[in-house]
């Protein structure tokens, strides 16, 4: 039985950290200050994914259907494995088509003297005849935490107040990156439905956070690429760093966002491992992945296009120039 605690935070002030997501390291460091020595040794955190507080509806693979206003402003029901990822895909596929989804899903960039950060809200104009002339979209952060062993001193799940007032990212001593906890919820991984994975014949694995292959952090072992990744060509790598206090440790990673095949034999267990993350620094959010049936298309529009026009392939047959 593994229980994880989903947490939705609201960004209250501008953010100046890594642009992709809030790093697990930042979340860990901020939380660790509020925990006992024993508990923080066992604390495992995911990366915090940015979510716009907008209208939307459930994509097809999810246990629920339909949509609600302000879909992104609260946690959504989790009954099936896929439900845990509704907010963890950067393309935020739940965003409604009736609004400019790309404008809602890109961060409002804010220029500071030497760097750029994200504003906590973006305003969209409204026609002057409407009573409210401006509509504001706020940004949220989705993450989850668990303990790899129960500890005597702390109850799990943590109270929501433990996530209130966290300050994450750069310049946090100057008021940047302040978070307010909106909602938390406990999910037992063994209670989830893995039916879509159980019935599939082949799988794909999508890397949601970087996978660390080499780290200069003390006592961190280098990791090879897992044998159960069925590689598709070259994997993009990236150099990164891990900050601990004043020390910066270089990392080599396989960059997130890439997709490989799955060559293992226990997809359900692999899927659970992917939620709890694998490899070096998995405690800090690295090595999170999602397993999908291989015939599943990550782009829902594409499946609809194919269904609507099964013979849409514009083929040319050999012949002369017209």
């Amino acid at each position: 039985m593994t229980r994880i605690q989903e947490v939705l935070l609201k960004l209250e002030t501008s953010y100046l950290g890594t642009p992709y997501y809030i790093s697990g390291n930042a979340l860990y460091s901020a939380l660790a200050r509020r925990l006992s020595e024993e508990t923080k040794r066992h604390l495992q955190v995911s990366a915090g994914m940015f979510v716009p507080g907008e209208h939307g509806g459930f994509p097809d693979a999810h246990s629920q259907s339909g949509g609600v206003s302000f879909f992104g402003t609260g946690l959504r029901p989790v009954e099936r494995y896929d439900d845990l990822f509704v907010f963890r895909d950067m393309a935020q596929r739940w965003l409604s088509d009736t609004r400019p989804r790309d404008a809602h899903n890109t961060h409002p960039l804010q220029e500071f003297s030497t760097t750029a950060g994200y504003a906590p809200t973006r305003s969209f104009g409204r026609p002057p005849e409407k009573r409210i002339t401006k509509r504001t979209v706020s940004w949220y952060v989705h993450c989850y935490v668990h303990l790899d062993e129960p500890t005597g001193q702390t109850t799990f799940p943590f109270p929501a107040c433990m996530f209130d007032g966290l300050r994450l990212g750069g310049a946090r001593n100057y008021g940047f990156g302040l978070m307010e906890c909106v909602e938390t919820r406990c999910v037992d991984l063994s209670d989830l439905a893995y039916d879509r994975l159980e019935t599939a014949d082949a799988y794909q694995l999508e890397l949601l956070t970087p996978y660390v292959t080499a780290s200069e952090y003390p006592d961190a072992d280098d990791q090879s690429i897992p044998w159960w990744w069925d590689g598709e060509g070259d994997l993009r790598t990236r150099s990164s760093t891990l900050a601990r206090g004043d020390d910066i440790y270089p990392l080599e990673t396989v960059d997130h966002g890439q997709v490989v095949g799955y060559a293992g034999s226990d997809p359900i267990q692999t899927a659970k491992n992917g939620l709890l993350r694998v490899g070096t620094h998995s405690q800090l959010g690295f090595g999170e992945f999602r397993l999908r049936p291989a015939e599943d298309d990550r782009v829902p529009d594409r499946q609809r296009t194919q269904a609507a026009e099964p013979t849409s392939k514009p083929h040319a047959s050999p012949g002369g120039h017209r």
Binding site: T18, P19, Y20, M90, A91, Q92, D97, T98, R99, P100, R101, D102, A103, N105, T106, H107, P108, L109, E111, T115, A116, R122, F124, G125, R126, P127, P128, K130, G233, D234, L235, R236, R238, S239, S240, H256, G257, Q258, V259, D297, R298, V299, D301, R302, R304, T305, Q306, A308, E309, S312, K313, P314, H315, A316, S317, P318, G319, G320, H321, R322
Partner: protein
Amino acid sequence: MSEPTTPHAEPATDCDTDTDAEPMLAVYRHDVHKLMMRSHTAARDRVAGVRVNEQVPLGADRDAALLSRPRGEPEQTVANHESPFRLSLLTGDTAVNPDQTDGDIERAVRELVQIEDPTEMHDAWLTASLPAQFTESVYYPYTSIKYHTLLAAALLSNYRAGASFEDLCLVVDDAHDDPVSHRTILHTDYASLRLTASPGNSPAASLGPAPARSWADVWSRLPDHPFLADTSRRSRNLDAQLRRIRSWSTALQFIEDFELHAQRKAGGL
């Protein structure tokens, strides 16, 4: 970086259309009515003595549209913006040059459509600033007619060489090299991207089985990115945003806008 230049074939589908102009010129002129701010039905057949607004053969226009807009009846997605001028995803403002007059627009359109050499036409669109001010559709104001046209041309060129959509890949080229005629869909100081069925050894990601708004998906699977995301924070910001955008023409225009903005700030990428 050479492309197989198989002469195109006699297409066997019902989406084939004859064009008066050479097809690889007609595709760059197919949406001129949008630059003239007219609907397709009210469009003129000729601008500056040149045949424009022709149907694009092999369904390339429809497929390019599906890369950036949803299928089905369009609905207005931004309540207070009923204008053919594009909204910038970077700034939120209308991407229009405030000093330009209607005469300037018409002159620029005339110059662009009158080019008679297909390769020159492609080069002119890659560097053109006028069509970057217009949307693909008033209903989707963040899309860009400039990149829609370049995508339609790249699809048509590949289809004419015998490829079908599912064979195509997005390829990262060296920005210092010359663009590949009709295949390069973005060519800026820092990035060059191309659609082709034969990527060779260049970093490439498949476009998937059918056209759809799949930009973030394809971009994040590329084995190499053109920006220096290891070292430059500005590039990481751009890369992070590109992983969130789904519409192709919106994303390509965003790269162009981001670079222009960075140059204005004199930082480069």
